[in-house]
Homo-oligomer: 340 residues x 4
């Protein structure tokens, strides 16, 4: 049993993580913090029988913690990541602070200097299925964004095979509102979201674009795509992301070879569900699980391949992938605590 | 054509009223105000082609206005009502400030002294179908609450006939979230309301209880009911209220006599839809219209009468009834501007 | 490990049960049947990785089965219950066929003669928390209806204490659409249910009225209530039932004594969540769990007690309670397979 | 006043049309038909006070009708279109039967020989804003599909300007469930659609692909695009279509020139709402109106233009555009009956 804590447990992601860790067979969850609600039980904020009481982050005894989860907004997270590492904790950061490897890029997309640039070099981008070798010994994991996870898992076999050189990838993504957080805003009120669909930050304006492009370059190497066109839409659902990906498909790879390529990577993966030909991924394939479901739809008569990818933004897109990364970091069965 | 203005046009009720008045055949809508958004077009706040620009309320030339609509929160509304009356406007107040006739009762339920008690005596409680004689000459209309409208219209024929003496009335009401306003709160976020149903202030705790009990007493006179048990529930819909009413039913009134009683009052009403035996009111009967739909369900083998009543909380429950009241005040066809 | 089978696994209840049993630590799920879809994998009907293939019910080797679950519509279930018992299986019937103890009552409410009246006498009404002594040795469990479970668990402490003598109980219940089954009908299409709320069979017309009244009489004995007024409403949610119960409350029981009475019965129950004063049960307290959440709301100034009760209609209201009953029947930890 | 009738008035489109025509200032709606429900009032099928009674189509006196609307499924519609024309009616067909100009294409996409190929040549494809010259004198209008209307209105200015030569257009479209009709199916049950998002017939498999490609070729002429990649998704809303369009954008047209091009075509259109730079079309911009809302999003750094287009699938995507077409056919104000 290792000892864990969550800094920032009252947002949707933090609360999901609280649930996962409190049922995990190999960890104790010793502290959960909240600045605004310190001293209150988590049951005062959510309809849960979970009895934990929120602590003030400043009172957190970091030296008692083996693994620290940070679930704060970007910029707020990095200082606590640094403190955790200094105190000897390993850290999984669920914010965006350590996803971009380059401090200049961070400044460009997040509009401020990086709060802890010295730590960028050692952070491991934790897209679990593609990051295992680096996770075992690392101190710091940058847990990927929800949209990037849905897009990158769908593209990775083609990227790694060098099949997307020079392509512009189009990702038309649709997300539930829990991804927008629990801080009240007009845009996420029921009366605004229900019966509606809202595209936002479309084109090349959403911060996750930078994250996807960085990782496409890393996975693609010399044969990396040219770039990403990314259009998120706010769906009238609470959980789930569906990304519909459009890729130019003019080369010689047959459909059979394509399916083999994906099967070779993903058939044995516990949290990737590769659908057979003729089936299409929907939110219902993934929501409530740590799975990413992927379906492949070649359209040779129009020179494109469409890939549909779905996941639960709070599980495989956030807290679930964090637990999966923990399982790899500590050498446990990767499914521990995630199969309920 | 009369000249109108709305104080507080950016909430859901105010915006609904803006739409109704801007299409009304007998009025011009000259000013709409918002303290927070003065200077901005209404199109910056809602996806509408309506071109009006919000004014600051302090700049409102009250002497140019014939009829003033006040759509502010309680306590905030009364001072502007008073200013409007002083300037010679007639006023329809959509807040709760003039619904309770008694300043002591206001203090008890709203937790503060009434801001303009001298005006209470002349305010007409604008449940249109039962208030017409008083509306013609009045200066000030207290537009009823959404829940009270749904409950009182369903009970009024029995109340007026003295058939509910000493009864305790049970009103189990369910409302869409637009009734809770557009100010962001956790409780009305999509992720909290969707897939959920939330009772609140049940029993005798909601302010609308006092309003209904006052009007039950007024309509019932010597044969008024003993009181109301009122349980509102927040529904995962944007618009609509459905009230399921339970009344003891042990007297000699036959089902035929009951239906006749309601038919005599309501068959010719343009905005009451009395359903025939065998049909049940649903939200879909009323939402998007200014109607109150009512169905009667005697259950003699269990000694009760059930009445189901539905309306659109932003129309018959707020802005629509305000326009209906205006139509009566000025002697126009009561349906003007409301039948689209 | 015991061997189990489900007859009728493709409806929402049967599929939920399939999921629970396939993850249960003490059973193997050996057969799942469907007349219409025999030979197809369950994954052809639902987005699930569960690999079981549906069998034809006629090919089911009943002599290999220890415990048979029947999840068919009423009237269709009873013949298979009889066959299972004859073959030596113990049986949990999730239909309504063995809930009413009296064949005449069955004929009145279900409009046909009972298909297997000789078995009525031995069926145990499986409201688990109140049925444990009878469950241990029984052959046949009649799993309660979803609405009755929500109503009876909320009333049982008062019934057993004789505190509801001669009362007429009012149950205003609201249910998600999964309770209406997966057979397509206009009334359960998304376009009909969304943005709507539909009361149906209100008063004393729904079959679950008879079931509740029977059990109120059984629990109440000489001090049983006079009867039930029951109004179900179809909610725009998929899962969950919330019942708002209105009880006359004119006797000498104090609020403290009331809360003690409930606490004595329920504090140690793993699947009853009794909320403290000041909190109100919502769907979110129960959906996705096998819990029934109960909150008590005395309204002495209006002579009533309100109780709010919520559960997940597919879990505590159907498949979850069936598994809970199985756990008691076989002497296992009552939470086995239900705490995920 | 002209005399009109609707063949097939009980589906969502037919019922919407019934509402529009019954409030239209220049027509009488004399007959509405339904084979399955002949003899019943429309109020037995929908919660409406509209009193019309459904007729059997065989009893329809076509010689009394000036304009016949046919709202039947494809293949069922064409024979009635032919009968209407023979009887001297003008006809607006809301089915797909006369949208494809070529009988061979119809056979390929609809899997059967065209029922009335002799009439194909004279049918006018009624995308109103681009079809006015042909509508004045025509006898037969093929009312466009809902998805094609959303896509073609968004592309038409570029197509007509020859700016999309050789491009492959990607249309990622999302639709509410009313577009799937009122015939009950598992796929459109509330419990399947809610909390879900389902892509279907993606790539080049949906019949509307053929319709869009035909009209892209017609509008584009020598500079027509190469083809369409079309991915519809079923949204958890009842009404509305949002199409996100991806166009290669490598030529010399500046953003200012692009906006001028669209403004020149659309600024004066009553039913096209062209949003200014910085705003994005959502369902809420269009649902409940006959509008198509369009926003332009150039992404020069990724070589693409994104266009977002929204409409109400039952109004501008079906019944509303049918009325708009009627208004042009008869020389009335194009907004008649459509601005409520």
């Amino acid at each position: 049993m290792i000892r864990t804590a969550i800094i920032g447990a009252t947002g949707y992601t933090g609360f999901e993580l609280l649930g996962l860790l409190s049922r995990h067979p190999h960890v104790t969850l010793d502290y959960v913090t909240s600045r605004a609600d310190a001293g209150r039980p988590i049951g005062a904020l959510y309809p849960t029988r979970q009895p934990m009481v929120l602590s003030d982050v400043e009172a957190l005894p970091l030296d008692e913690i083996d693994l620290l989860f940070v679930a704060l907004p970007h910029a707020a997270a990095a200082p606590f990541v640094a403190r955790g590492l200094t105190a000897g904790c390993r850290v999984i950061d669920l914010s965006a602070d350590f996803r971009l490897r380059d401090a200049a890029s961070y400044r460009q997309w997040y509009g401020a200097d990086h709060p802890a640039p010295a730590l960028l070099a050692e952070a491991v981008y934790g897209l679990t299925e593609w990051a295992r070798p680096a996770l075992g010994d690392c101190r710091l994991v940058a847990n990927p964004g929800c949209y990037p996870t849905s897009i990158l898992l769908a593209l990775a076999p083609l990227l790694a095979a060098g099949r997307l050189a020079d392509a512009t990838i189009i990702a038309d993504s649709k997300s539930g509102t829990s991804g927008a957080g629990r801080a009240p805003k007009v845009a996420t009120l029921f009366a605004e979201v229900s019966d509606n669909l809202t595209p936002y930050a479309i084109g090349h304006a959403h911060r996750h674009s930078a994250e996807v492009e960085q990782e496409m370059a890393a996975l693609g190497g010399d044969a990396a795509p040219r770039g990403l066109l990314f259009s998120p839409h706010l769906l009238p659902v609470t959980r789930g992301i569906l990304s519909t990906l459009y890729l130019p498909w003019r080369d010689a790879l047959s459909e059979a070879a394509l399916r083999d390529l994906y099967a070779n990577h993903y058939t044995k993966e516990p949290f990737i569900w590769l659908l057979p030909a003729g089936e299409t991924a929907t939110l219902a394939h993934s929501v409530g699980t740590n799975r990413c479901t992927i379906s492949l739809h070649p359209v040779p008569e129009r020179g494109h391949l469409i890939i549909v990818s779905t996941l639960d933004n709070l599980l495989k897109g956030a807290a679930g992938q964090a637990v999966q990364n923990m399982n790899v970091m500590f050498g446990w069965d990767e499914r521990a605590g995630l199969t309920a």
